[in-house]
């Protein structure tokens, strides 16, 4: 008997377990994956394009960061299935990611470095 079954039997709230069974067969198919791949390709092309267009430094940096963030999110959400999977995985990953982001931003700021 799993904890989830046990809880359901006793009518207790089931916490993280509720998603357990869901994640089968809801995966996107080949078509979606290829589409995402195409989008990723296009964004990369745009990034390189922007690099050569010669925008002002700040515009360049901001647009590059935004674009790579989109790529990052696409891969994580679709290829790594975080969008469909149990929220616990998302929580764990985001915790690591944000801890890293925040503490190292502070470190660099405290050492009077530039972020970009």
């Amino acid at each position: 008997m799993t904890l989830a079954e046990y809880r359901r039997k006793r009518g207790e709230p089931v916490l993280t377990e509720e998603h357990a069974e869901e994640h089968t067969e809801k995966h996107p198919g080949v078509l979606e994956y290829t589409q995402i791949g195409l989008i990723l390709f296009v964004i990369t092309a745009i990034e390189v394009g922007i690099y050569y267009v010669g925008l002002g430094f700040n515009t360049l940096v901001v647009s590059l960061l935004v674009l790579s963030l989109i790529k990052f999110t696409l891969v994580v959400a679709w290829f790594m299935h975080l969008r469909f999977d149990n929220k616990l995985f998302m929580t764990l990953f985001i915790t690591g990611l944000f801890t890293a982001l925040i503490v190292f931003t502070v470190v660099i700021a405290a050492l009077h470095g530039q972020l970009v």
Binding site: L40, F79, M80, L92, F93, T99, F104
Partner: protein
């Protein structure tokens, strides 16, 4: 890659190994975060050349980045195949992914030697130090990934991976995609954005 279905009944309903993998990736965020922080802190602070603007070859690196990105696509297709029970396709995509990964490594090896010829070494300046170590550790991750993929591929040739074992592919995939997103960040921060 033992432990098949027996442990599927867990308190959270989540597979032990998959949980482990996500914890590992969360932890890796801090690992790569640390290297990236050192790079960012020191960018533009090298006291002598060669400087990044003298070296980076954007067209070349763009191709590498593209190769790695596409390997992520083939990886996820391998997973999609095995989840539908198509071992043959899975093998093809797995092999493609490994080949693309190897290409990326080869590109990196080429780039490292080029840079070295231009006088950038680990000890040349801060740029050399942070660049080689950051991209080197990433490359090491890719290499390990290729090894894992090739092992899975060989294993599957012997019939070791069926639809019910798709978790093995999923886990390798998670690792592989993670290595890819790290490169997405590196490509932007280390190559495209140059200090003024």
């Amino acid at each position: 890659m033992a432990a098949g279905t027996a442990h599927l009944e867990t308190s959270t309903g989540l597979d032990n190994r998959k949980l482990l993998m996500w914890l590992f990736l969360g932890s890796e965020c801090l690992f790569f975060g640390s290297f990236i922080a050192a790079y960012v802190l020191y960018r533009g602070h090298s006291t002598t050349g060669p400087y990044p603007e003298d070296l980076v070859d954007i067209p070349f690196t763009s191709v590498s980045a593209f190769v790695l990105l596409m390997s992520s696509v083939s990886m996820v297709l391998a997973l999609a195949s095995i989840q539908r029970g198509n071992v043959r396709n899975m093998q093809i995509w797995l092999f493609t992914t490994a080949i693309l990964g190897t290409l990326f490594i080869a590109g990196q090896a080429y780039e490292f030697t080029e840079f070295h010829h231009e006088g950038l070494s680990l000890s040349a300046n801060l740029y050399g130090t942070t660049f080689f170590v950051l991209t080197g550790f990433h490359g090491a991750h890719v290499t390990i990934g290729v090894l894992i993929l090739m092992s899975l591929f060989t294993y599957s040739l012997r019939g070791g991976i069926q639809q019910k074992d798709s978790l093995n592919i999923e886990l390798a995939g998670l690792y592989w995609h993670f290595v890819d997103i790290v490169w997405i960040i590196i490509f932007t921060l280390v190559y495209l954005i140059q200090p003024q």
